[in-house]
C-alpha cells in the first residue's frame, strides 16, 4: 500500500460517514494546502481562513472522488479554485498562469511563501527542521536506514525488509522507533503552540 492507497482508504471511510478519517486527511495535508493558498493570499490570518474553506469544500465534494487520481491532486485543484474564488471575491484578479503541482512546490521552495509567515513562526519552523535532522543523525544505523528508505526513497515495508534482510515486522518496529525518537525532539517545540 502506498500513500495513495492510504488516502483512498481514508476517503472511503469519509464517504462512509467517518469524520475522524477526514480529520486525518486535514492534518496530513494542511501544510501543503496552506502553502498553495499562500501563493494567492499573502495575509497569514486570511490564508488560514481560505485554507479551512478549501478543506470544507473538499469535504462537501468528497462524494465525487472516485479514486481515479491521487487524492492530493484532487485536493490541490480544490485548493487553487478556492483561492482564486477568494481573490475574485476581493475584487482582485487571480494569476493567469495555472502552475502544475510540482512547479508550485518549487516556487514555494524559492522562499516566496515565507513572506506570509510571521517571523516567530518562521523561527519555529527552522528549529523543527533542525531538530528533525539532528534526531535522524543521532539514530542507530538500522533505524536511520529504515526511516530514510521509507520517507526519502518511498519504499514499502516489504521492499525495505528485502533491502535490509530482516522481517517486515522488524521494519515496522524500526520505523516506529525512529519516528518516536524524532517526535521526542520536536514535541516540545510545538507544545506551546499546540493548544489542544
Amino acid at each position: 500500500m502506498g500513500e495513495n492507497e492510504v488516502d483512498h482508504a481514508l476517503v472511503k471511510r469519509v464517504q462512509g460517514g467517518e469524520r475522524g478519517a477526514f480529520d486525518l486527511l486535514v492534518r496530513k495535508y494542511q501544510h501543503k494546502v496552506i502553502g498553495i493558498i499562500s501563493r494567492y493570499v499573502h495575509d497569514w490570518a486570511e490564508s488560514q481562513d481560505v485554507a479551512q474553506e478549501a478543506f470544507v469544500r473538499a469535504y462537501r465534494a468528497i462524494g465525487n472522488f472516485r479514486g481515479e487520481s491521487a487524492f492530493y491532486t484532487w485536493l490541490y485543484k480544490i485548493a487553487t479554485n478556492t483561492a482564486k474564488n477568494w481573490l475574485v471575491s476581493q475584487g482582485r484578479r487571480p494569476p493567469t498562469d495555472d502552475v502544475q503541482v510540482d512547479d508550485a512546490e518549487h516556487l514555494q521552495a524559492a522562499g516566496r511563501l515565507r513572506d506570509s509567515s510571521t517571523p516567530e513562526r518562521e523561527m519555529v519552523r527552522q528549529e523543527i527542521e533542525a531538530a528533525v535532522t539532528a534526531a535522524v543523525e543521532a539514530l542507530p544505523e538500522e533505524l536511520k536506514l529504515a526511516i530514510t528508505l521509507r520517507e526519502v526513497d518511498g519504499l514499502s515495508y516489504e521492499e525495505i525488509a528485502e533491502s535490509m534482510s530482516c522481517p517486515i515486522g522488524t521494519v515496522r518496529s524500526r520505523i516506529f522507533r525512529a519516528r518516536e525518537a524524532i517526535d521526542l525532539r520536536i514535541r516540545p517545540l510545538l507544545s506551546d503552540t499546540e493548544a489542544e
Binding site: 482508504a9 469535504y59 519552523r125 528533525v132 489542544e196
Partner: protein
C-alpha cells in the same frame, strides 16, 4: 505482521496505538486494525496530534517546504464541518426499484393469518390451515380466528437511529454472509425497518409488544 516483542513496552496502550498510527501513515496497517484505530481517535485527541507531527517530520525529511499552520487549524476545520451533512458516497450502481413493486409484491403473495399455536414444547411446527386472505393493497382483513389488536405494527416514523447498534448488525451480517442462511439474507434485518425502537427488550417477557409511541 508480527512485531519484535522485545522492543515494545506493551504496558502503555498509548504506545501501541501510536505504533499502529505509524504503520497507518505508511499505508501498512490492515483494514480491521485501521477501523479499530480510527474509532479510538475520537477518544484520544493526542493520537491526531501525533499523526500531524509524523507528517510534519515527513515533510522535513523530504525537504518539502512546510509552512507551519496554526495549531488549531484542524480543529477549526472540524468545527466548520459540524453543520455539514455527511457526504454521500459516490454510487455508479443500479437504479432503485420502482415504488410500485411493493403493491405488486404484496398483492402477489398469498397471505395467511393464523393465531399463534398453543405452546407445545417439542411438537414441531404447527401450521393450521386457514383459508388464504388475498389482498390487492396493503390493508389486511381481520382473520376469523383469535386476533390481537396489533395486526400491523406501527411504523416508528421518527424513531432515532443508533449508528453504533446498526454497526454491530452490519458487521455481523458480513461475517455471516457465507453461511447457509447467508448471501443477502443477513442484510435483510439491517435494511428492514425495526419493529421497535432499538432499546432494552426485557428478557423475561419476550412477548412484549414494541413500546408504544
Amino acid at each position: 505482521m508480527s512485531i519484535d516483542p522485545n522492543s515494545i513496552d506493551s504496558s502503555s496502550i498509548d504506545f501501541n496505538l501510536r505504533e499502529q498510527l505509524s504503520a497507518l501513515a505508511d499505508g501498512e496497517l490492515g483494514p480491521d486494525q485501521t477501523r479499530f484505530l480510527l474509532r479510538r481517535l475520537d477518544a484520544e485527541p493526542e493520537l491526531a496530534a501525533c499523526w500531524q507531527r509524523y507528517h510534519l517530520a515527513r515533510a522535513c525529511l523530504r525537504r518539502e517546504p512546510a509552512l507551519l499552520p496554526d495549531p488549531s487549524f484542524a480543529a477549526a476545520v472540524s468545527a466548520r464541518l459540524v453543520d455539514q451533512q455527511r457526504p454521500a458516497a459516490s454510487r455508479s450502481w443500479l437504479r432503485s426499484a420502482a415504488g410500485g413493486a411493493i403493491a405488486a409484491g404484496v398483492a402477489a403473495a398469498a397471505l395467511f393469518a393464523i393465531a399463534t399455536p398453543p405452546q407445545d414444547a417439542g411438537s414441531g411446527p404447527q401450521l393450521s390451515s386457514v383459508a388464504p386472505v388475498r389482498t390487492n393493497d396493503l390493508e389486511l382483513r381481520q382473520p376469523v380466528q383469535r386476533v390481537s389488536d396489533r395486526v400491523w405494527a406501527p411504523l416508528p416514523v421518527s424513531a432515532p437511529i443508533d449508528p453504533q447498534l446498526e454497526g454491530y448488525f452490519l458487521r455481523h451480517s458480513g461475517a455471516a454472509a457465507s453461511a447457509p442462511r447467508g448471501g443477502f439474507v443477513p442484510y435483510v434485518y439491517v435494511v428492514a425497518t425495526p419493529a421497535s425502537v432499538p432499546a432494552q427488550i426485557p428478557l423475561g417477557d419476550s412477548a412484549a409488544s414494541p413500546p408504544s409511541r
